[in-house]
Symmetry: C2
């Protein structure tokens, strides 16, 4: 059931909680999709949300907890006892369960683990807790359907029936040999299409793309996207089947990455949203503002060396914003293109010299066009030939250098294993400002003293 | 089979094409995953790629064509006759077939349609060609498995077997009534778990989330993400089942959107990659550089009004980069936070006054901190009290105003149906530069003349 959640409904829910009206809550929210209930909970106080959670069936609560943003979930779960958490974790997929346990203190984690009554689940969770969160092992769930190479189709259907309770989405049935080594896959479709007494080894597909548990989450995203997979099996270094990663986790990773690069580009250093507290939003923005401020003060310091030139010819100062803005724009454009190339799985086969040559040509073309335009306009505007030549020449040099910096900085960062997207933000803008001003006044000083 | 594609391999392929060595091509690439072949084709000339495509089985060619970037595909298909295109289209899913036909001229489209020998496919394609590309109807495929409410489980399994050839991923079986109205869903799992003579109406799940064909693609993405769906059925306004959209299409839409917002934020106006031609890359960057240039010239013009102040006190000019850089950083941060809030499906229930108040508080806090820091540093640096007061006061006003502009501009654009991300780019930076300079010199002029 798709419903529209209105301000009025939230108020009704709040009033119902106030007067402890369980019937109202259950009759309105009992039939809702867990994702819609989550939307409602986001609008309530933590105490109110806890009240609602306690009324809902534990299966629904488990789904809601699995979907919550991790920072909100961490705070929310402080309101639950270890026994309550265990009851929900018991009903979750192993990957979601591990995510939640990783957010808890060591003590709570141990308590919850001890309270999980499904032994197989507890074992799966313990197993998954060993993996780093941002590698393939940290993304996988243990729930999957696997069949042996030597089984018959009937046995496979039996196994699917048996496992179906735990595995909410089947996607692919994995085929393993007697040592549990992943050797292929077989689709439910082909099991349905085959005679009951056929052997798996006669109908399975040995082409199966898998990923090792220690691979980085970015690699998981790239492989799944490239081969258009909705699930990928995870194996250990010997090829033994450990678990599987499903497309919904990959969508989450993609979103996190988009979010991260947005933050890096806009100079916001924490994961904030508009509804966070004033102090949190303020704190997330200050680091970059201060770096920008230091850059600005350095720029003032550099310009100080040319204070005499400015005193003699104040018109020089008028073009400082043009120089810094153009340098900034060119730098961001260049870094953005190279960052995208670095992050896409494009094979970078064109060799280095060719690429630098192309980059120089693009920069040259744009620098020429912009300089000619600025020369014409500034001449029309001030009728001062020398000044126009100074501005155009400086701008030309700034565009060339900002292009180089914008391209080379991300490449260097990438070589050293730093996310190159950090270069697309205030950092490169600040560096370009300093560079632009130095070039501009340097050129002016030279040309006027000729 | 996962393989690493090396520069050496590409050269071997190129040489093999040169000497028309079909055996080499087929023996090396015949076993490759279509996605890997696509990677190889991207490195070859169009003629060479065409040569390889002609050697490969048409099923593989159809998959490669479905996966190609649309701009590359458009150029590539110019090398194919209508009969060749029809042979591939015949083997594609209806949604991919329609995407390809939409890229062709009307004449080619008609020719290809006439040459498709699978009548049902031709009909499906004709049907899909009516929908706009960026709505739910434009994303859906006609291939799906539907069963009637009154069928028995055996009949359903029969239907799945019959349709299985066309539908590569089943996900969910949709349940319709006698008028073809979507009434629910039934999973393959529950069909497998049920007795053969059970009726669909006794085992189906009436809770099915669907979307109407005219809905925007962003709505499709939001609904599928919110409810964590791997496929969503598309219905017409009467509720009749028309087709379904699968998660891989949604991943593509998400990527396009991330790409678009990256372009808007970095001022690149076309979809370019590092390996495009010099002219194309240059052209994609010029529009924003020119807007930035006009902004810079306007700034020069504004500062011109204060030329006398600068002549009297050249030190004033030194802080111009600090003012513009800080204004720019604050503006981008503010717009980025509000744009993210606007684009997420968060229900914006907090009322307008509250939000503006919070925004003012954050701006105030940051403005105070930055101004106090700058006051201290600039006083230490120049020992000039009036100048330090001027710079700090101007900076305070710039941070406040840039925060407002950065928040309000995207909200206004959003109200008018314009993608608010355009405001996060060079546009807001340029506006903030102008604003900052005017405030700075205005404040200086006032304070010095007191």
């Amino acid at each position: 059931m798709q419903i529209e959640i209105t301000r009025e409904f939230i108020e009704q829910v709040e009033e119902a909680i106030e007067r402890q009206d369980k019937d109202f809550i259950l009759s309105t929210m009992g039939e809702m999709h867990p994702a819609d209930i989550t939307t409602v909970l986001y609008e309530l106080d933590t105490n109110e949300s806890k009240y609602v959670m306690d009324l809902l069936p534990p299966e629904v609560g488990a789904e809601i907890l699995s979907d919550l943003d991790y920072d909100i979930r961490e705070d929310f779960l402080d309101y639950f006892t270890s026994a309550e958490i265990a009851r929900y974790v018991n009903l979750m997929h192993s990957d979601d369960a591990v995510d939640i346990l990783n957010e808890q203190s060591v003590q709570t984690r141990e308590e919850v683990l001890a309270l999980i009554d499904n032994e197989e689940k507890a074992e799966d969770i313990l197993d998954l807790l060993h993996y780093e969160e941002d590698c393939a092992g940290g993304l996988m769930a243990k729930e999957l359907i696997k069949v042996n190479l030597n089984w018959r189709v009937t046995q496979c259907i039996e196994e699917i029936r048996r496992q179906a309770e735990d595995v909410s989405r089947i996607y692919t049935v994995y085929v393993v040999d007697n040592r549990d080594i992943l050797v292929g896959r077989v689709s439910v479709k082909s099991l349905l299409l085959s005679k009951d007494d056929k052997l798996v080894k006669d109908i399975y597909n040995p082409d199966v793309i898998s990923i090792e548990s220690f691979r980085d989450e970015n690699e998981v995203v790239n492989v799944m996207q490239k081969y258009d997979l909705e699930a990928i099996p995870v194996v250990n270094i010997q090829g033994r089947l450990l678990g599987r990663i499903t497309i919904d986790d990959v969508v989450d990773v993609m979103q996190e990455q988009a979010e991260l690069s947005r933050q890096l580009m806009t100079g916001i250093s924490e994961n904030v949203e508009e509804d966070d507290s004033v102090f949190r939003i303020s704190r997330s923005r200050l680091p970059w503002l201060i770096i920008g401020m230091v850059g600005g003060l350095l720029a003032a310091h550099f310009m100080g060396f040319f204070e005499k030139d400015i005193a003699l010819l104040p018109a020089l100062a008028l073009f400082v914003p043009l120089i810094t803005a153009t340098g900034g724009n060119v730098g961001i454009q260049s870094s953005s293109i190279i960052i995208q190339t670095l992050s896409s799985n494009a094979v970078m086969l064109e060799n280095f010299t060719q690429r630098i040559l192309k980059l120089v040509l693009v920069a040259l073309l744009n620098a020429l066009i912009i300089s000619i335009l600025v020369f014409s306009f500034s001449y029309l505007f001030r009728q001062d030939l020398t000044l126009s030549i100074v501005v155009a020449t400086a701008l030309f040099s700034v565009v060339m250098l900002a292009s180089m910096m914008g391209t080379i900085t991300p490449m260097i960062l990438d070589k050293f294993g730093i996310n190159p997207a950090v270069a697309a933000g205030p950092f490169i803008t600040t560096a370009n400002d300093l560079l632009g001003i130095t070039i501009y006044f340097g050129v002016a000083h030279l040309l006027y003293n000729l």
